[in-house]
């Protein structure tokens, strides 16, 4: 007699972080949700702009009035970090979702088409995944006078689909030999129907885990590009906070701490959220 499958606890949000399967899901999403909520609250209800300068307060230490202190030109670091995190997260999630939506069907279709198409997709994925994305981004952005988040998004989207396609390709190679796929074909279902109703749903469990790690690496890439001077020209990026921190390391180390910890916490929360997909 087999054991009954685990059941999700019933009830409202009070039991969301309780026990069992949903508890793990809740804990995994909690850091990302908390960061997003705090950043959104500061961006929506905060009185300071992330670009407003107040030179008198330049490099001042954290205080009750300004919990993260001030950066270059007296910019409020809390406002700058909150806006930068929000924009970075939106960019990372949007590009990761784009990669997921494009890469998953492409990889699955390649595995089912076999032959040259399969080899071509696999080789392209190898090439894109092997080559440093950072270098690729520098090449494309060097042709742009003043990069914006749209430019960054396009550059990241050029390579973001590859890991999803690679995973979908590998998983579909297993699925195409499965008995239930043979059965569907034997029952006369069209290839499109088999692909859409049987293959794709069985891929998603594995492939969606990649969403979190792709988004985390995009957060870091965006910050790194901004740090070396290829970021959005509005200056609202975690890389810019870090850049200010490095420049003022001796007189205002709190700026460096805010920049470095923000990059780490945002990237780590994405990775932790990816664990929720495994459940």
């Amino acid at each position: 007699m087999s054991a009954a499958p685990p059941r999700a606890p019933e009830g409202g949000t009070g039991r969301w972080l309780g026990t069992g399967r949903w508890s793990g899901l809740g804990w995994s999403l909690l850091p990302l949700g908390a960061i997003f909520a705090v950043a959104a609250a500061v961006a929506l209800f905060g009185s300071r702009s992330p670009t407003r300068l107040d030179p008198v307060l330049a490099w001042t230490s954290p205080s009750l009035e300004r919990p993260f202190g001030s950066g270059e030109g007296g910019v409020d670091l809390l406002a700058l970090t909150a806006h930068a995190e929000l924009r970075g997260m939106v960019l990372a999630v949007a590009v990761a979702l784009f990669g997921f939506v494009v890469g998953t069907p492409l990889g699955a279709a390649a595995a089912f088409a076999r032959g040259r198409f399969e080899r071509g997709v696999a080789r392209t994925c190898d090439l894109l995944q092997a080559f440093p994305t950072f270098l690729l981004a520098l090449v494309v952005l060097s042709a742009v006078r003043a990069p914006t988040r749209w430019h960054l998004g396009i550059v990241f989207a050029l390579t973001a689909w590859a890991p999803f396609a690679r995973l979908a390709l590998a998983q579909s190679r297993v699925l195409r030999a499965a008995a239930f796929i043979d059965a569907s074909i034997a029952l006369g279902q069209s290839p499109v129907r088999v692909f859409w109703y049987h293959v794709l749903p069985n891929l998603l469990g594995v492939v969606k885990v990649q969403l979190g790690s792709t988004a985390a690496s995009l957060i870091v890439s965006e910050a790194a590009l901004a740090f070396v001077g290829f970021g959005p020209h509005d200056g609202v990026s975690l890389g810019n906070v870090l850049d200010q921190g490095v420049a003022s390391m001796l007189r205002a180390p709190h700026v460096l701490a805010v920049g470095a910890l923000s990059v780490f916490v945002t990237s780590a929360s994405m990775l932790v959220a990816a664990r929720a997909q495994k459940r």
Partner: protein, 304 residues
């Protein structure tokens, strides 16, 4: 071997073509980007003619490919009279030193960590070591490198600032060490799993039965059997290492290929930008080939 060389050449050709396409076909006039908004129409036309932008695209591409084959990308716009290739060669030295030392340190630290994580020396603390590998591998270089620099070089003054011209080898060692930390964590994670897989193999039992110490068992017999995944991990991490080198060179204001790319971007020195990105790609492809050759040299199954 011929197939690998052809693949490497293809990767370089794709990259070089991408550089060519990006700089010539994306919206915006490169001559205007270089000279700025104040340039006159004559100045813009003269620069376009000098860079060959007034010719048809296929002629420009053929000229570009000829330059690629003869490693001649033209003169630097920022330093007239100096070849772009010469500037890149000058910058390759410091970046090569930084990356080579980082690979050496990351490999030694990672392999040592992997052996410690599977050997009997740490007892129950081994599970914490594995978690530490995961945490370090997931921590971006961009976050910990400036903080470690502040703590070790500015606050405690244990090490010199790696960008200090007087820092010498210690500065290089510090910068390489920062690059080596994430690499060592990746190597340790993969190495640990690979070593665990062979841990029950009969040949290791024979070594132990013949009186071999744990260190001898793992280092002399276990590690060569797991060289494949470890060398492959180092090879795949080289891309991240190159990106990290650009960030570190910018962070410490050290000379190198990354600094040259950023400088040539800022001054729109297109010949140098093209040459340096192609050189970075070649460096990457070369190191991948070396990783493959090392793997084949250690593991005869790969050669066959």
């Amino acid at each position: 071997m011929a197939w690998s060389t052809a693949e490497a050449a293809l990767v370089l050709l794709v990259l070089a073509s991408l550089v060519f396409v990006a700089l010539r076909t994306l919206p915006g006039d490169p001559a205007a980007l270089i000279l700025g908004d104040q340039a006159s129409a004559e100045e813009l036309a003269a620069l376009r003619a000098r860079l060959g932008f007034d010719r048809p695209l296929y002629v420009q591409y053929a000229h570009f490919l000829r330059g690629l084959l003869s490693l001649d990308f033209g003169d630097s716009l920022r330093r007239p009279g100096v070849r772009a290739g010469a500037r890149v060669l000058e910058a390759l030295g410091p970046t090569g030193e930084l990356a080579a030392l980082a690979v050496a340190m990351g490999s030694v630290l990672g392999v040592t960590g992997a052996v410690l994580a599977v050997g009997p020396w740490l007892g129950t603390a081994r599970r914490f070591v594995e978690r530490a590998f995961v945490a370090v591998a997931a921590t971006p270089l961009l976050a910990f490198a400036p903080l470690l620099t502040y703590v070790l070089a500015v606050k405690w003054r244990l090490l010199p600032l790696p960008g200090d011209p007087d820092a010498g080898f210690l500065g290089l060692l510090f910068a390489s060490g920062l690059l080596a930390i994430p690499l060592s964590a990746h190597v340790a994670r993969i190495g640990r799993v690979a070593l665990l897989e062979v841990s029950g193999a009969p040949f290791l039992t024979v070594v132990r039965a013949k009186g071999g110490s744990f260190a001898r068992t793992w280092y002399l017999h276990g590690l060569p059997a797991t060289a494949g995944p470890i060398v492959t991990t180092i090879g795949t991490q080289l891309g991240a290492l190159l990106g990290g080198a650009v960030v570190l060179e910018r962070l410490f204001e050290r000379p190198g290929l990354g600094t040259l790319i950023l400088e040539s971007y800022a001054s729109r020195d297109l010949p140098v930008l093209e040459a340096s990105v192609v050189a970075a790609g070649a460096l990457f492809v070369l190191t991948q080939a070396i990783a493959g050759a090392v793997h084949a040299a250690i593991d005869p199954r790969v050669r066959s």
